[in-house]
């Protein structure tokens, strides 16, 4: 796996983690406030682990790859970029699609020839099981809600774009949905820049700051 592929994985997890954390303090129930905050924390932990591998290949450190690139250099998929607060139906639709697609990707990485990648994917998979149980529970609960169904339909092409073309058939199987043209990784939505500005503010204003 090359550094660019590792960065795509790490960027997805970091940006999604950031978006999940936007529910901290304002989720519709206290339990979900805690859940989304905790999920955000683990996603960002996974991002760090992938950034560390990428940084080794690039000869730098995890913080530098996470925060010192320009927005156009990020490799995250459009699915994770959208700011969905305060729409709970869209949030759960993305959460479920992301966790389901991510599981397809992690399963493939667990079979990697590179023992470091396979080992890390295995660790991450065991933690992600909790995210999947949570996402599946909500998808089941909202299954017949029109707003949730519309949100899943709208996000479906971006969910396919999270995966390599060869893995997309598996996502269709798991979700029982038909293949459509994917929204591919590569072009960023307008929503990434404001997030990037907030996320990198400290690094940019005080380079090399430690705390």
């Amino acid at each position: 796996m090359n550094a660019q592929e590792l960065l795509a994985l790490a960027d997805d997890e970091l940006i999604l983690g950031w978006r999940n954390s936007e529910w901290t303090g304002i989720a519709p129930f206290l339990e979900e406030d805690v859940a989304f905050s905790s999920i955000a924390q683990t996603e960002i932990g996974h991002a760090r682990a992938w950034y560390e591998l990428a940084a080794k290949e690039l000869g730098t450190d995890a913080d530098a790859v996470a925060f010192d690139r320009d927005p156009h250099e990020y490799r995250c998929a459009p699915l994770v970029e959208a700011r969905l607060v305060p729409d709970w139906a869209q949030t759960i639709a993305r959460h479920w699609l992301y966790e389901t697609a991510d599981s397809v990707r992690i399963q493939a990485l667990m079979n990697s020839d590179d023992p470091e990648i396979a080992g890390l994917a295995g660790k991450i998979d065991r933690e992600e099981a909790y995210h999947r149980m949570h996402a599946d529970m909500w998808a089941e609960r909202l299954r017949d809600e029109a707003r949730f169904r519309t949100a899943v339909d709208e996000l479906w092409p971006s969910a396919l774009g999270l995966l390599e073309p060869g893995q997309r058939g598996r996502l269709c199987e798991v979700t029982g949905r038909d293949p459509v043209d994917a929204v591919e990784r590569g072009e960023h939505t307008e929503e990434l820049r404001p997030l990037w500005e907030e996320m990198t503010m400290v690094r940019r204003s005080i380079p090399g700051a430690a705390w």
Binding site: E31, V34, A35, S37, S38, I39, Q41, T42, E43, I44, G45, H46, R48, A49, P115, E116, G119, G122, K123, I124, R126, E127, A129, Y130, R132, M133, H134, D136, M137
Partner: protein, 159 residues
């Protein structure tokens, strides 16, 4: 010269930064200690990858090794941590301080199976408890509720 046994003893006194009732040895995060001359190599396996306590644990282990007069080299083990690595002593201490220890074995992968696990209330011992939230104040904990003493309590996740 420092011995591996001295290092293990020192580590048994380092409290977990988030659950101080248990030590790093109780938690099973230290996999191996090897002394090579004046250097101590530690193989360490953090609980959850996003655990913010990891850096604190690393610093404290390095400091204890330095205090024993050796140089520290802390490496992350390739193999992941599992909640089955918590020692019997660690499980007892968790329960005493109000945390239900994790269910033994691999974590269930469906909510239905997870809900079937019988978990004992650490306050009153009742098994009439239910899962309130898969997630809790740290990545390694869930929230349960005891119908008998009507107290919420935290359970260490199986991982």
């Amino acid at each position: 010269m420092v011995t591996a046994e001295q290092v293990w003893e020192a580590f048994a006194e380092i409290p977990d930064p988030e659950i101080p009732a248990v030590s790093l040895v109780d938690l099973g995060v230290v996999r191996d200690v090897a002394v090579e001359g004046g250097k101590v190599r530690v193989e360490f396996t953090p609980t959850f990858l996003g655990c913010p306590a990891v850096e604190v644990m690393r610093e404290q282990m390095a400091r204890r090794i330095n205090e024993l007069g050796a140089e520290a080299e802390i490496e992350i083990a390739a193999e992941g941590w599992s909640s089955d690595r918590i020692t019997p002593e660690g499980r007892r201490k968790l329960e005493e301080s109000g945390f239900a220890p994790p269910a033994p074995g691999a974590a269930p992968t469906t909510l239905l199976r997870l809900q079937k696990i019988v978990s004992r209330c650490p306050y009153c011992g009742s098994e009439d408890t239910r899962l309130e939230n898969l997630f809790g104040p740290t990545p390694c904990r869930s929230i349960r509720y005891c119908a008998s003493c009507r107290q919420p309590f935290e359970q260490f996740k199986a991982l």
